[in-house]
């Protein structure tokens, strides 16, 4: 440890401001509160602060961020500028250091986010020990009141001098270049230790349950009355997630300048408390009630993220509790209630272990694909045949999806409808929102942006040798088709094939030509049905919901894998039918839809309890999700 006098410390900071060439962002006063903001002189620094309004995450993942810029007339000359402004954060408390570490795990782990990476690389952290404890903080109970790594320098104000812990080579360089330091003497080291030991005692409230027990406690209280009670008071204002250092969900929107030529794709903070977080273009909202949204935040922090990443995603800073107007956001209060009045009703929500296909760089930048063919299928649906401009194959597995971009309008997830391989790939698109409406106006030769392929697709190896029963409703046939075509291309690898397909009405039936072709395939049974046949349309087949087709088919439950894809309401009824025929859980596969945006498990919109549908899904083994409350 090193030490320096208060004057030398101020001088050090002043020198950093004027000589280092880096932007020095420290804690300063804003009215009676504190914020991280650019320092103009060292004396503005307030290391005696209790907590800042917003955590330093705003420096690494800003509330509004330009991901890329585009010119609508030349859409694929996309420019993605990385922020490489060098910064030094001064005064980061230990709990915030730990929060940054958690964000690093997420944003720099699998699927590195280039923007975050650039900022992080260029940001140095000078942490500081806590002198004054914020009223609603409970870092002492979580062990986040002190920190040993994750900083370049850690300073402790012990009264008449500043003690410095060097945490990295960069920190060492900074000190040797700009500071006048000596070695800390034993008394000073003792003072630092004492300060840190005495800290937990300053926190008025204590957690009744150790943070490593949160996962178990939450798994036993999914239907605890507290969720209903507290959510009645909830404004769903989103404040708790916005001020949280470990929250990092985001939304992406396209903005166009008034001249309709240039635009930007912007990233902005989003939160799971807001209703539209899980809304898809069709209007479905997957976490509709306030109770579900209120509860989800606690489960994400205390159970889902810990299971996935190994750390509890709460650092006890107390910002949420401080900012929540009806005062229902305090994790300490909630966990203490659960601990004292646990319902002990176990509800496991495991995350399936899925082998990811590695995704390379430029996660956020779409590549160009040209429309080579357009085929109208129904009133609302069109099939697009696309070819990547690079000439490469898409390289997808059946069941995966891509994110389709039209600059200035936005991006939407569409499952791939064609089997893997070949120069082109096919997308079946339903006209339902801004992007899909705009897409319909494009012509052959026009280009769109493609990101992906994403998601967990069908594991064809596991299906080899089995009989297959495909049950598709409406647009559900679109992703299923990619697997069906694959099966027929490798017919001898698979057993009997049965295809059941149901639509609302004859006019909504997709892929009529393919249906005919499949019907005539070897050892294949194909049955179709419609819910009804309105005037003006012709139909001489079965009329009724898809389960009415079951009496017509024959299959061995032990050796048949059922693959179900359709509108949310369909699954329950079909699965009931299959169970009635003694189909074991492990022989059922489903593909579920949620709001997929980033495609790589970061933006948070596609969450289904602890599962990211874009990572562990959209294709799931039924046994893995059957007890998941948010799945069906």
């Amino acid at each position: 440890m090193k030490a320096l006098s208060k004057e030398n410390w101020l001088e050090f900071i002043d020198r950093l401001i004027s000589e280092s060439g880096k932007e020095v962002i420290g804690v300063k006063a804003k009215g009676s509160k504190f914020v991280f903001a650019p320092l103009e002189e060292a004396k503005e620094l307030r290391l005696d602060y209790d907590v800042t309004i917003l955590p330093p995450k705003k420096q690494l993942l800003p509330p509004h961020e330009e991901l890329l810029t585009y010119d609508i007339t030349k859409p694929f000359e996309v420019l993605s500028r990385m922020d490489d402004q060098e910064k030094i954060l001064v005064g980061v408390h230990p709990y915030d250091v730990m929060a940054i570490h958690q964000m690093d795990e997420i944003y720099l782990g699998t699927h590195t986010d280039d923007h975050y990476d650039s900022r992080r690389k260029n940001t140095m952290i000078i942490a500081s020990d806590i002198l004054n404890v914020s009223e609603r903080s409970f870092a002492g109970s979580l062990g986040t009141h002190v920190v040993e790594t994750g900083f370049d320098l850690l300073v402790t104000d012990i009264g008449n001098s500043m003690i410095v812990n060097i945490g990295s080579e960069k920190g060492e360089e900074l000190i040797s270049k700009y500071a006048v330091v000596r070695n800390a003497n034993p008394k000073e080291i003792e003072a630092v230790d004492r300060l840190r030991e005495e800290l937990p005692g300053k926190y008025r409230r204590k957690l009744k349950v150790d943070k490593y027990q949160w996962e178990k406690l939450l798994s036993e209280n999914y239907e605890h009355p507290i969720w209903e009670e507290n959510s009645k008071k909830c404004l769903t204002c989103g404040s708790c997630t916005l001020v949280c250092p470990t929250c990092f969900c985001y939304d992406v929107q396209d903005v166009v300048n008034i001249n309709l030529k240039e635009g930007q794709r912007m990233r902005t903070w989003d939160g799971c408390l807001l209703r539209e977080f899980t809304a898809v273009a069709g209007g479905e909202v997957f976490r509709e009630t306030v109770k579900e949204r209120y509860r989800h935040r606690y489960y994400r922090k205390g159970m889902y993220l810990p299971v996935r990443n190994g750390f509890v995603a709460c650092v006890g800073c107390g910002r949420c509790a401080t900012q929540c107007l009806p005062d229902i956001a305090d994790p300490l209060e909630v966990m203490n209630v659960l601990a004292s009045y646990s319902m002990h009703e176990k509800h496991d929500m495991p995350i399936p272990d899925v082998k990811q296909k590695g995704i390379t760089d430029d996660l956020l930048i779409p590549e160009a694909a040209t429309i080579v063919r357009k085929e109208r299928q129904t009133d609302m649906e069109t099939l697009y045949v696309l070819k990547l401009d690079s000439g490469k194959e898409l390289g997808h597995r059946p069941g995966q999806f891509v994110e389709v971009s039209i600059f200035g309008v936005g991006e939407a997830p569409i499952s791939v409808s064609s089997s893997p391989g070949g120069e082109t790939f096919e997308l079946l698109v339903r006209r339902i929102g801004d992007l899909t409406t705009k897409l319909e106006t494009l012509k052959i030769g026009d280009k769109v942006g493609i990101r992906g392929p994403f998601g967990n697709g069908f594991d064809v190896k596991e299906l080899e040798g089995k009989d297959l029963l495909f049950i598709s409703g409406g647009c559900g046939l679109a992703p299923t088709r990619s697997l069906i075509e694959y099966v027929f291309e490798h017919r001898s690898d698979f057993g009997k094939v049965t295809i059941l397909y149901g639509c609302k009405e004859p006019g909504a039936i997709l892929f009529n030509d393919d249906l005919k072709r499949w019907h005539d395939q070897n050892d294949t049974v194909l049955e179709t049905t419609v819910d009804g046949c309105p005037d003006g349309q012709c139909w001489d087949g079965n009329i009724g919901v898809i389960t009415t087709l079951f009496p017509r088919i024959d299959f061995d439950p032990a050796s048949t894998i059922s693959i179900i894809v359709g509108p949310p309401v369909m699954y329950k009824f079909v699965i009931k039918e299959l169970k009635g025929r003694n189909v074991p859980d492990e022989n059922i596969i489903v593909s579920l839809e949620r709001r997929m945006k980033c495609g790589v498990g970061k933006c948070g919109h596609c969450q289904m309890n602890g599962i990211y549908v874009c990572l562990e899904g959209p294709v799931f083994k039924y046994k893995d999700v059957k007890d998941l409350p948010e799945a069906f």
């Binding site: 509160k33 769903t236 204002c237 001249n259 807001l274 801004d434 705009k438």
Partner: protein, 248 residues
Amino acid sequence: MKPRVAFFDFASCEGCQLQVVNLEEKILDLIDVVEIVSFREAMKEHSDDYDIAFIEGSIQRPMDEERLKKIRKNAKILVALGACACIGGVNKLRNEWTVDQVKEEVYKDADIEGNDLFDVFPTKAVDEVVDVDFYIPGCPINRNEFVKIVSQIAIGRKPKLPSYPVCVECKKNENICVFELGKFCLGPVTRAGCDAICPSFQDGCEGCRGFLDDPKMNCQKDVLRKYGITLDEMMKRLNMFNYKKGVY
């Protein structure tokens, strides 16, 4: 073909149209992208052939209703511009009294019987008379939101207003919550899109953009009470821009 755009005003302060003028040099970009065929406040030129009509102001009289219905017929797209057009705004405050009471008070010494100019009914927002395609809320409108919505319409999108409250924007701006400054704020139930401008200047939100589609009004009232508001004060604030007789 550039879309043809026209601006119309009814009972208003014309502040929202002024905000369009306040786009300053951005107007030069705007007139590259749309053709403004009628803007009475700034232009003598006028045409009845327009695609998009912007309506500022509330509807007070039968003659205003007639004029609005004609505009609706002419326009493919009708946009309500500003609080008075979208939700009635401050104009609706007079609906607390009957029309007779108000007329009696204002013009009791003048002979206005049978004079169409004075024939008012309770204030109406534009969508109480004709169908509105898009709304640009606020008192006044936010210039950036205006540009955003117009450019989205021009590019073929369906503009959607934020469905979340002002608090989201307030937090992103790192404002000190005005409740902590001893003020009362309707931010948690008011539609975002103004970038939380009033709280950013340490004044409580007055709800001028209209309440959310599903505002948590009971929770908002609880919070106001928790911070010491009187019932009378609370009613005054809730009714200021979002007047609804006896509802809150």
